[in-house]
Symmetry: C2
Subunit: 460 residues, 2 copies
């Protein structure tokens, strides 16, 4: 056997062909055509966010969305559609919160601050609390104040997302600890409550929800996000008089864990049915949000991937599975339960790709694996994607929902759409259908289907 | 002299360094920071479209925008700001048009169709005209009908923009002849008027304006665009009964050419002042449109490029010129007058880049030159742009305004922003400020400034 032939045979199982396989361009064209000319993702998204807004873990809206998802997947005529039971945390906002800067000296005005209790926050006393407010720009600044500067106060975290970061995700990652860990850190220094500047570059009066750490053993304080305009107004008032008090009312409560579900649809593979390729998004959203970009878009795109393959009559070699995860926003129990089930049953996931960054025009994918730099091997496919404005495979480690599958051996991936508008809407009441562009949404679904088809054909 | 040194010296004038010049990454970072943290393009755009909407050639709004531009450029403290006089065509819409499908048989309903007279259209008789309508999908289909099938009728061009085209510009170029040449072709076969399906993928009730060929010698017919929903409704009605009549009223008129202006601001080069680098957009818009994306965005970005250099204290080697062209939409007289002046005075434009594809997130540039494949030479700069989501230099031939400079020896270029949303708003009353995202607009301005800085440093 000649060396080259030997190499060719050895490489075959790895799915590393030397040159583009004929027909790949044509298949991608068929996939994108199917999405752009007869796509159903936008109409599915419209149904989901219109009929079932506010899909927070424990809510009726989420379980109604579970039923809707099962019905929608079943209508595709898949080989199997089922639900996986998951117990999820159950936090409720209760009556609307209020946060008010008090006027105590002549010449001062009281100021109502647009606010949302953070997910996980405990309630204030029924008739509210009032305390002096102290402004910081980071947890480090908080800690520098020490117990003496913090105890008995309301800590106002006002570090903005860095406007110079070209990619808003970098700015988000740089600021979000104020929301996720800040209230807890303030509590440990004796603060009585916390306010957090909303995580967005937008300057408006829309507060952004989001989770904050909650410790069942106690020592938690009430915490709320305020809009960026409210944060600027509060900061300006404190610049004039640093000794101001704020009154807050939050009516949230923790309830016992509730029953929820991951929803799973699959097309069984014809040659390698035990090798699973997964595409998914998360069904839940914040209670105050329709969750169109976060993550109705990902749900609709994940369903659309299977619809496209059905419409094209494509019989996959491997098993293709659409997983709609529950409880991404405030617990990740859906993702953990799914990975746990996969581990216990010994299921082999070769590839798991997530779409949870909004339904904007796709630009690429991140890919990660414990087996090596898969994003480099994927570069060979870039010429196939170029006609669709998709130009990058970057190193990554999956998103929150597929990440746990990486340690089980799966290559994990993330769809990377355009980023500039996402944090205008993230976790808000204005994350509505009209913010999603049908063609952008459908291009993203086609990009996912195209990558999955290539992985099914060639491996990664 | 050693060969390598000789080569280095020989290559210097061509500006083709072998390796990235130190400090380039840092300078691009400074440019993008200046745009993202203290950018003024969005606030300038807000002023332009709020104070001066409907900037059609011949209008007071356009000349008011000329004054605004001169004032805004002057406030930057440039070396020179001046206006170039240009005589422009003067077409006016007059009172709102109406297009109505008539009900003549029992069971039929009359149907008002959302319409806009096309730029250049002649008026109908004062009390309107009514005639049978015939639907075609292209000029070829029209011609196949011949005079017998067309004479005495209103031709309805209903060929949609191809939804399968991933880039909507390709779909636009494939359909727009129906608008630009269709009415004239119909007139030549004896049609009495023409209707054209709006040039957009969006399905809504917003008609899109745009120019149609007008021949001063006569033989023109009234022509209007109708919304895509109106086109679908009309087509459905004709499928039921192909013998329907339409009544139309258009009150437009042609007036003598009017005085308008290109507005030009420049920073004089310190080393090569006779070599000009130009960045520009067009000041005019359709009469019914605020013209936010088309092309208020380009105007604001072009001004912003000079503002960024001023803010950074950058003294360019070559002369940097911002040109705000008049009359792009229905005559191109601004571009032609500018190129003519450049030719007559022997000015040397080394690079002229245009921004007229909307203020969306930038993805790259097209570049063209009579001297060879400049876009290939520019590839060396891609690593510098990658952190900002800018990934492509494509072959092009400039846009409508800078294109005429190519034959004078200039390399011409176009900013390429994201494309999916542009034709939702193009030439419409909904091309409003809220459709433009401040960070996307500012990233585009920074991309232009970065490319211009590289050209100023290295040549192309």
């Amino acid at each position: 056997m000649r060396l080259s032939l030997l190499l060719a045979v050895l490489l075959l199982p790895c799915g590393l062909p030397a040159a583009p396989v004929p027909g790949q361009e044509a298949m991608l064209q068929r996939i994108f055509d199917a999405a752009l000319t007869e796509g159903r993702a936008y109409e599915n998204l419209a149904a989901l966010v219109t009929l079932h807004p506010g899909r927070l873990a424990g809510s009726k809206a989420l379980e109604d969305a579970v039923v809707w998802s099962e019905t929608t997947l079943t209508a595709l005529g898949l080989d199997r559609v089922h639900k996986q039971e998951v117990m999820v945390p159950h936090w409720e906002r209760g009556a609307p919160e209020s946060v008010r800067l008090l006027a105590e000296n002549s010449g001062e005005s009281a100021l109502e601050l647009a606010a949302l209790a953070l997910g996980g926050s405990i309630a204030t006393p029924e008739d509210g609390l009032a305390a002096p407010v102290i402004e910081v720009r980071s947890i480090d600044e908080l800690n520098a104040l020490g117990r003496e500067g913090v105890a008995g106060r309301i800590v106002f975290f006002n570090g903005p997302m860095n406007p110079a970061a070209a990619n808003p995700w970098d700015a988000y990652r740089g600021a979000v600890a104020q929301r996720s860990r800040g209230p807890r850190a303030a509590a440990q220094l004796g603060a009585v409550a916390a306010l957090v500047r909303s995580m967005t570059h937008a300057l408006d009066d829309v507060p952004h929800a989001g989770n904050t750490a909650y410790v069942p053993d106690g020592g938690n304080i009430p915490a709320a996000a305020i809009s960026t305009l409210a944060a600027d107004r509060l900061s300006a008032a404190l610049a004039v008089n640093p000794v101001r008090r704020i009154s807050m009312r939050i009516h949230s409560r923790w309830l016992p864990d509730a029953l929820s579900h991951n929803v799973i649809g699959e097309i069984r593979g014809s040659e390698l049915p035990d090798e699973i390729i997964l595409v998914g998004g998360h069904l839940d959203s914040w209670d105050i949000s329709p969750g169109a970009h976060d993550d109705g878009a990902g749900v609709a795109q994940s369903i659309e991937v299977l619809r496209i393959f059905r419409a094209l009559g494509y019989q996959p070699r491997r098993t293709l599975r659409c997983v709609l995860f529950t409880n991404e926003e405030n617990g990740l129990r859906g993702a953990l339960a799914y990975a746990d089930q996969a581990r216990r049953s010994g299921e082999k996931h070769v590839f798991a790709v997530e779409t949870d960054s909004g339904g904007f025009a796709p630009r690429g994918f991140s890919l990660g694996s414990t087996q090596g730099p898969v994003h480099e091997r994927a570069q060979r496919w870039l010429p196939l994607f170029a006609p669709y404005g998709i130009y990058t495979f970057e190193r990554g480690s999956g998103g929150a929902d597929v990440g746990p599958l990486m340690v089980l051996g799966a290559t994990v991936g993330n769809l990377l759409p355009d980023t500039q508008r996402y944090f205008d809407y993230h976790h808000t009441a204005i994350d509505t259908l009209d913010k999603v562009h049908p063609r952008e949404l459908h291009l993203g679904a086609a990009a996912l289907a195209a990558l999955i088809w290539l992985v099914d054909q060639e491996g990664l």
